[in-house]
Amino acid sequence: MSEKKQQVSRRQFLNYTLTGVGGFMAAGMLAPMVRFAIDPVLQPAAQGNYQAVAQLDEITNEPQRFDWTMDQVDGWYESTVTKSAWVYRNDNDEIIALSPVCKHLGCFVSWAGSEDYPDQFFCPCHDGRYFKDGENVPGTPPAAPLDEYEFKTEEGTLYLGKAKPKGGVI
């Protein structure tokens, strides 16, 4: 809570300073520097927390899409963003939560998104494909596997953290 208060006053302070300096010119010149300066302070507070995403008993062997919202601070913008994940249990009964963002140019992939490949993730933009475990299918545009969310489970609820690159085969 106290961290939050600090952010606000910091931002207000910057706002006042900028308006004081005068006009867009100054703001334009300062913006890159200021962004650089406040980013490291704001990032940890706004991200890095785990968000409740699903109940464990909802999760099956078939990847399902779950959406959730979180507040995000990105430089000047503070907004509520919707995040999504494809979640399933693999053959070893482990939970896998994959980011839907295609590693080629960032479109949303969907499980069984193409009738021709009912057991792969499919990207509608340039026909990129991924196997169920998130590995990119060689010969399609993506050059890396889908990012995987960090997760933890507590009292029957699945919490997701940050999506991390899997760094598998290229």
Binding site: H104, L105, G106, C107, F108, C125, P141
Partner: protein, 152 residues
């Protein structure tokens, strides 16, 4: 992709993959004789649609900053200006150009437009963030993305 530094770098390196341009058309007015309330709700919806579509198809769609114009019964002036805009952009090869709007006046000029008109009727209820509206909006977005994919 969007009209912002981060995305432009990506765009320049991947031009051949980004073959679709999306331009939201948003009417403005401060004139009491129009239903300004309705116009603002439509404006909010348009922004939501555009943002969601961009997010889903980031790697293939370039979202232009919104084209604003004064809401007016006589829109032929805008037609010329908009087509001009599109012509200039088309010099940079985009295969598909979509004009997204909730303003039904464009429907009349559909044949003369230099792009595919995606016109959507607005939901009537005021609150864009209510649960019921969200369901409808989600559904409209799905229809919209399917429509776009059908052109590819």
């Amino acid at each position: 992709m969007r009209w912002q530094e981060e995305d432009i770098d990506l765009y320049i390196g991947a031009k051949e993959y980004v073959d679709t341009l999306l331009i939201p058309l948003m009417p403005l007015s401060m004139d009491d004789k129009f239903d300004i309330n309705k116009l603002t709700v439509q404006g909010e919806l348009l922004t939501i649609f555009a943002n969601e579509i961009e997010k889903q198809f980031k790697g293939r769609i370039f979202l232009m900053p919104t084209y604003n114009y004064m809401f007016n019964e006589e829109s032929s002036l805008e037609l010329t200006r908009l087509n001009n805009w599109v012509d200039k952009i088309e010099a940079n090869p985009f295969k598909h150009i979509f004009l997204l709007t909730l303003d039904h006046q464009w429907k009349k000029h559909e044949r003369d437009l230099a792009g595919n008109l995606l016109w959507f009727p607005a939901i009537q209820s005021g609150n864009v963030s209510s649960k019921e509206s969200q369901v409808i909006i989600k559904d409209q977005i799905n229809q919209l993305s399917e429509l776009i994919r059908s052109y590819w």
